[in-house]
Symmetry: C2
Subunit: 364 residues, 2 copies
């Protein structure tokens, strides 16, 4: 059994006893029942994921940003030249990108991984080199990657995540960098959800109408050419995927196998989550959807995974920027559960126990 | 001219030069144009509010929680007894309430103000005593407060906020505590927006159907009795308002007059914002709507003020809990503007300048 199969086999169900205990505690805290809404639900989910009835506050949030290039950019699907991928990797390493700012804001570490950048990157203490290939092949004409490359990308993600977890990471967030990567993401979403390509393909970094129609046509033609099997996530990843997308799917699998909550960023991370859930449906309950991306295909991803994003701030940057903001919300949810006083501790009267009786006596 | 009139006269327009400069800088940062969505817009709004083209990062976020009681609770509009208001004030002072946890999470100070609690509160270094009256009168039978009391409540809010601003507060958030206070809030919202009472009245801490119908009937009867003038916010506040709501309206006016961003919590704070905007329409651009409350009347507040909430987490606790979470988002927006590298600084290539030409050459 390889690393991939081992990891998939290691993903178990959420801990229902921990969830029941967390729910019971929420109901004793000094607030009307359910008044903190999704914060309460999140804290219960974290209890189930971690197996801790009273989850520890997160001390080492970690954003794993996977970078890769895409052969499909030769077909003019992005406004930016592919050279921007390595340029942005250096920007990450220098701390000047959006993800750096937002990760610092929430106290998260950023780990930058080269899974498939089409350039030789200068070594840097902050850069993890797990390059599988210098970009994918152009999937307009051939499969994006071989099965061996897909496995390497997935296992790179698993191993990087496991290394971070071993070093203390207690909540993981996914991020991506790869010029052109909304194109493979839309292809993956269309292939797996069965939605029409036009319904899941957006403007990426800012395509105009003609460019968008071209991008849709490129994806439709590729799906006709390759006929990826919706029920075989590995087949989809090989034929129309991306190396960083495979890497992120690996991060997700490893997080779930190690009972670490995974905050899934936007559209590209969502495509990776579809791949991970295709390989291992048991990962779904471990996922926390950070935000709703402007890329409208993201809605189909959320529907398919049964997730409701925490934030909707009209963002479409990727890099893990939405996930970084969401880490703060998840962290807040755990603190609510840990730190709020109970009615008993605070000496606060509870609501009328028999609301109906109370109403009867009052509404006369 | 009294404190109230002085403050209202001090509210000027946003600084459009600072906003233009902030927008220009956003467009040079290493991300596709507009890719950080509402974070970009927020940073520009903060520039306009503060008059700083590159706003300073917030160092002293301050949540002002105004507490007051409501004579209308005699009519059975809440599941909780009025004694919970002082109990919760002590919970705030002991750091055990939801707002304490979330304010600590975002590094904000909590200021607790007694504007109208119907109990003698023990002195505490963290408690600001600005009690106008021990609760409002029951507005089912008489006006909630006199015009003099309404002015006192507003000026208490102004003075507390000014004290905090003088002590360094650079972003203010509003919070409330007052058993029964969704009832005056719904009355205010109906009176000012003209929406039907049933359309802006919710279950508060958890009323059942019969209790909700009773609450609606109580508010409808009060509005028929008092006939508050929609165009006279002071009249509305006196007849069906709350002392903590008046206090919060004062906080909002003071924030705007001193060019400090004001993060407005949920439904009760929204009612206070309607009063503030009624007294001084120029405050509207200074408001940042934190979250969409479960109390469905909050949508009418947002429509009337032309605001779109940052968060929608199914919350309905009040206390400033939604505002505390939103402070972190506003703070992140300023850091993005301040800390992200520009394309030039990072040596990152920009998008094709003439997108249409580019498309012409590529889509062939």
């Amino acid at each position: 059994m390889g690393k991939l199969e081992e990891t998939i086999a290691g993903v178990g169900p959420l801990d229902s006893a921990a969830m029941a205990a967390a729910k019971a505690r929420q109901d004793t805290l000094t607030k009307p029942l359910g008044a903190l809404g999704r914060l309460e639900e999140l804290s219960i989910k974290v209890a189930g994921i971690t197996g801790q009835a009273l989850p520890r506050a997160f001390e080492h949030p970690t954003v794993i940003v996977m970078a890769g290039d895409h052969g499909i950019t030769a077909d003019g699907v992005s406004l930016y030249p592919a050279e921007v991928t390595p340029q942005m990797v250096y920007n990450f390493l220098n701390g000047g990108a959006g993800i750096n700012v937002l990760a610092r804001h929430v106290g998260a570490k950023v780990v930058v991984v080269d899974v498939g950048v089409a350039a030789e990157l200068a070594p840097h203490p902050g850069l993890v080199n797990r390059k599988v290939a210098p970009g994918t092949a152009n999937f307009a004409v051939q499969p994006a990657m071989t099965p061996a490359q897909a496995r390497q990308a997935l296992e790179a993600g698993i191993e990087v995540a496991e290394g971070e977890i071993a070093a203390g990471a207690d909540i993981l967030a996914t991020g991506d960098m790869g010029i052109g990567n909304t194109t493979p993401s839309s292809a993956i979403v269309a292939a797996i959800t069965g939605e029409p390509v036009a319904g899941v393909t957006g403007r990426g970094t800012g395509l105009d109408d003609a460019q968008l129609h071209h991008k849709i046509a490129v994806i439709e033609a590729a799906l006709r050419l390759h006929q990826p099997d919706a029920d075989d996530a590995m087949d989809v990843l090989c034929k129309v995927g991306g190396l960083e997308i495979g890497g992120l799917a690996g991060v997700i699998l490893a997080g779930a196998a190690h009972r670490v909550p995974i905050v899934v960023d936007g559209f590209i991370s969502g495509a990776a989550a579809l791949i991970a859930a295709g390989l291992c449906p048991a990962v779904k309950p471990y996922l926390i959807a950070a935000h709703l991306s402007v890329e409208h295909g993201h809605r189909a991803v959320m529907r398919h995974l049964g997730l409701v994003p925490l934030l909707d701030l009209n963002m479409r940057l990727g890099e893990g920027t939405g996930a970084a903001l969401a880490i703060s919300i998840v962290s807040a949810s755990v603190k609510v559960l840990r730190e709020m006083a109970t009615f008993g501790e605070a000496g606060v009267s509870e609501a009328a126990e028999t609301a109906a009786d109370e109403a009867d006596s009052r509404v006369k």
